[in-house]
């Protein structure tokens, strides 16, 4: 799965992705979701915390596309604004996890020896805790809040990246061009940045695309369990948690936030699949 990232390579990848209509559609849908969410301030019919106590728990209608919740807030508007939180958590925490994981993995793989041993043992310890359990206990330690949720999700995604980065680094560090750079007197950081990193990006990008979806779901799970983000900030998982008490008679409250999570994660997964196939034509 390795190969130097060059402009032609990237063009190739795009060309291959374009040939898959499902990926193109997913990409467009995802862009649409992002667009809706980023422009929520202009698109959402109501502010996310606007409460009309005379119109609580209303079913979907012309005024309220997805109905209202128990405080008389427009669910559609809240889902749009909530998406902002979910995407932010998904991308930021994943970026953090990927960065931390890659750093650990590359350092472990490149330098080897006791550093490798120590880092990978620590990573294995984290891997011994099932990811959801790890995220839950991290969230419990850190307490609720946006930053803490991102941190908990990020930490729980470190091990996977560390392992991938290490394995890829091992496979490229003895390549001729790395040896050559070393012979020419390049420093270790220089080699890592100029030669190792570009060559291990492909598997990491695939893992990252698929990981964003998982991160969004995990953040929603934390929100649902009451370990996530505080009100009145809308968050899809917390919206579902609040809907539990009303789901018997007001199904719209439980339906739409769940669908929002699913749609986002599906498009991300399809894009990730397409990306993987495109980066590695062998696997098609």
């Amino acid at each position: 799965m390795t190969g130097e990232i060059t402009t032609t390579y990237i063009m190739d990848v795009f060309k291959r992705m374009r040939r898959n209509p499902l990926v193109v559609i997913s990409f467009l849908v995802f862009l649409l979701i992002c667009w809706l969410i980023l422009l929520a301030d202009y698109i959402a019919p109501y502010p996310y915390d606007y409460q009309d106590h005379t119109r609580v728990l209303e079913p979907p209608s012309r005024q309220h596309l997805m109905g209202t919740d128990h405080l008389g807030r427009d669910i559609f508007s809240r889902i749009l604004h909530g998406g902002r939180v979910s995407l932010k958590v998904g991308f930021v925490s994943l970026a953090g996890g990927a960065l931390g994981g890659c750093l650990l993995g590359v350092v472990a793989g490149y330098f080897g020896g006791w550093l490798d041993l120590v880092i990978m043992r620590c990573v294995e310890i984290l891997m011994a805790i099932p990811r959801t359990v790890l995220a839950i206990s991290m969230a419990a330690t850190l307490g609720p809040g946006l930053t803490n949720t991102m941190l908990a999700v990020a930490i729980s995604s470190v091990p996977a990246f560390a392992r991938i980065a290490r394995a890829s680094t091992l496979s490229v560090k003895n390549q001729v061009y790395v040896e050559a750079a070393r012979a020419l007197g390049a420093t270790h950081p220089g080699i890592i940045v100029r030669h190792i990193l570009p060559n291990i990006m492909a598997p990491i990008i695939v893992q990252a695309t698929l990981g964003v979806g998982t991160a969004i779901t995990l953040a929603a799970t934390l929100g649902f369990l009451g370990l996530g983000i505080e009100p009145p900030t809308p968050e899809w998982g917390a919206m579902l948690a609040a809907s539990r008490g009303f789901m018997r008679d007001h199904v719209h409250m439980v339906l739409f936030p769940g669908l929002a999570i699913m749609l986002t994660v599906i498009t991300l997964n399809l894009i990730g699949d397409g990306l993987r196939d495109a980066l590695d034509p062998k696997l098609k």
């Binding site: 409460q51 106590h53 128990h70 609720p144 009145p232 539990r244 008490g245 009303f246």
Partner: protein, 504 residues
Amino acid sequence: MRLSTKRVLVSTLVLLMVVTSLVGCKGGAKQDRALTIALPGEPQTLDPYAHSNQNGFICTTLVFEPLIKKDDNGEFYPWLATEWEFLDDTTLRFKLRDDVTFHDGSKFTAEDVLYSLAVAAESSFTKNLFGCLDIAGSVIHDPTTIDVKLKYAYAPILEALASHRGAMISKAVYEASSREELGRKPIGTGPMRFANWFAGDRIELETYQNYWGEPLAFDKFTARFIVEAASRSIELETGGVDIAFDLAPADWERIDKGANTQLIGGKTHGISFLCFNNSMPLFSDIRVRKALAHALDLESLVKTVWQGQADVADSYYSPNIFGYKKLGPWEYNPEKAKALLMEAGYADGLDITYITYESRVNLAFAEVIENMWKQVGVNTTVQVVDLATFTTMNNNGEIPVSLMTNTAVIPDPDAALLAWPTHRTISLRHNDGHVDELLEKGKMSYDQEERSAVYQELQDYLWSKLYTLPVAYPKSAYGASSRIENLPFYPNLCPDLTRIRFAE
């Protein structure tokens, strides 16, 4: 390995059929003489003097008994004690039944009464009710006669003794075991005795064969712990449990109209109030407290947050407790709120941190007041912590402002005003000696008229000071299957389950 696609399909189908055939035998073993209830949480302990949790007491009303009980008309009647009389203001004589035994077979005597009361007077959970007892001064005349001494006249003493907090425990058992053991395997004199506790799931009780009184309508009791309110009502409707406690208002109507269910609900002895931390400079300014109060449309707030199942509070304790005086509700006037804020020097707005813990009402309340305060330029940051953290912070005086609910264990103003003595460590911290004086004056008299007057004066005083803003008198309800009879609503939310009868 000779598999074929067809075989794989067939075996999958067979498996699915096995699974669905299991569906047929619906569980929730419902025997005629078994009572199953759903509680909103697991008790930490069943030692009646080691907690203050309703879930535990709902179970232990079947295991432990008080000396006297109170009927629906408010009259006390004999239970473990056959007679009682006040010899003077601070001496209370009890004659005890002679035929009562504990679940370990030992006899119940005056020694046990004195021991129970000594534990009650010491326990941090019951001190507020029984701290008045003078244990050293009390005298045991014979195994069935005891003179209980009071340090000072304490009006609610009979109420306290008749409540679930006045449980009679065994001296021998208590002295021989650790508190932990007792909490897990309670031994009392009641009609049911402890059988099993499946951690995280349920507690089971069974009939005590040598019970002195009438046997109950049921001979097996199971209390399941189901945290989610929606799940409790679903269990009730699908026949998994006979009684579901603490139903969410969203489910009331359906349970009430259900063919197989009934709603048992009413006004509680509780009050929900917005507690300002008066030791913080910001809230020590009465103009700020008044502004925040005027900014709230209590009518709309209470209706939305409690979903119509609460009244707007208009004084400092519930109207169904004597001495209550209607004073409010506090006026909704955003203009006045803004003016007061400006006067207090917050013309450019004000930042407030609102800390609460997770519960249906708390979250909704936080979101609504955040919204209402925003209208008058107050910017509220809501922090949701877990109950444990909240309790710690509350006792360290670190909660700036939050909704708190206090449900009186007994229908007496002294219990209803539990939050107010200055020695309490909760974040109220008003540090106003005058409140203490009035509270002392109120509880040390037996004259109802006189007490009423004191408490009315106190309510007036509190209303003028606005250390807390009364918000709501919440209602509560439990749902029961229609075969349950003779279970009235208990405003302290701890019903006496021994009364239950089954419909034919």
